[in-house]
């Protein structure tokens, strides 16, 4: 019975997919649009990007800042992929010409990068010459959550502040593949913003 239901589900999916393909036949289109940034105060990613990562110590369970892996436009981008899509499109606002930072003000959309589980696409917002926000336009949804949960503690589970020790191990387990796609999309967005 389950199989039957699954078959119907997938068959139905073909139809929906074919229709969506007809409407929007090219997922790979990079919708580069440059707007003057309206988005100033709601984030401070720029503050954390150039500095070293601040991971939690074993004694203080404070929130850590993100790792600054995405700033350089010429790193972590797979060859032959991506960087060119926005060339010539990055004309910032008049104010952008005056700023002291390394990027022109505006918002820049990176290409949808293949994370295998789906596509990742980001929009970088540059204000005052600095990267001030990164928004996800596409995100693979098999690993994201929309569930609301009941946050009650469970006694048999133990918690601790995580460590930030050097990676002196044989193997690393982590969600690297999607991060790569994130960096790729962001690097392309920033390449457009570069002065």
């Amino acid at each position: 019975m389950r199989k039957l239901l699954l078959s119907f589900f997938i068959t139905g999916a073909f139809g929906a997919y074919i229709v969506s393909q007809k409407i929007n036949p090219d997922k790979f289109v990079v919708p580069v649009s440059v707007n003057t940034s309206q988005n100033n105060a709601n984030s401070n990613i720029a503050d954390s990007l150039p500095s070293n990562a601040k991971a939690p110590t074993t004694s203080t369970p404070t929130p850590a800042k993100p790792t600054p892996t995405a700033v350089n436009t010429n790193t972590n981008t797979r060859p032959g992929n991506g960087m060119m899509n926005g060339n010539g499109m990055g004309s910032g606002s008049g104010a952008g010409m005056m700023n002291q930072g390394k990027f022109k003000d505006g918002s820049y959309v990176g290409p949808a990068a293949d994370a295998y589980y789906g596509y990742i696409q980001v929009k970088a917002i540059v204000s005052g010459g600095k990267l001030t926000d990164v928004q996800f336009l596409q995100y693979p949804n098999d690993r994201s959550t929309s569930q609301s949960i009941n946050q009650q503690a469970t006694p048999y589970l133990r918690s601790e502040a995580i460590a930030a020790q050097s990676a002196n191990v044989n193997i690393i387990s982590g969600a690297t593949d999607t991060s790569m796609a994130f960096r790729e999309s962001l690097a392309s967005a920033l390449a457009q913003a570069a002065n």
Partner: protein, 247 residues
Amino acid sequence: MKQQQDIMGMPITVEVVGRDDAAVLIKKVFDYFKDVDEKFSPFKSQSEVTKINNGEIFPGEYSDEMKQVLDLTEKTWRETNGYFEVVFNGQFNPSGLVKGWAIQNAAQILRRAGVKNFYINAGGDIEVGGKNEADQTWSVGIRNPFAQDKVAKIVYTAGGGIATSGTYLRGEHIYNPKNGAAVNEIVSLTVIGPNIFDADRYATAAFAMGKKAIEFIEKLIGFEGYMIDTQGIGTMTSGFDKYSIKQ
């Protein structure tokens, strides 16, 4: 011998210890992953998955491997109370399951060839067997989501699967574009189990449960888990300690 290749859009590392024919064996593993990619990639126009999505082939024409994956998908969907999805935006995409399944099958290629000491790491999901070159139990670091070059926890295992589901850490800047809601509960969930196929599918499904994920893993017999939330707090299942001690 250790080698790495980019296949299925991710780095795949294979190490085989103490075999003269390691190079040949490792190549077999890489070739297998390439075959899987040709068949199951939703990004290749000639893959079976793409043909299914385009309505070019129908259930009676599916390959045996596709039928097997569909059976496993159905089983996983049932076991995880519907948390494991393979249809996104109306498109069939079993990638979330295929990855662990492929690692598991690749490990079987090595085991059938008599290899005892090895690991296969595909994009951070790992199957290990035996010991490393220094004759020690394999050490596996769980990546610190806040500092990608650091390790949040080290586990030691002589055999089995370790899978980590995660998201980027951008604090409140992570959004789910499907519903616009911030994804702000957990950033990483590692599951250790008897094999990578089961560890990976449970990690993938449980990650979508938010902070309930670790309770779901706690209830599974033979599996342990380590969950990291947005505040940098790690929560472990009751039996996790046995993996924290070097054997």
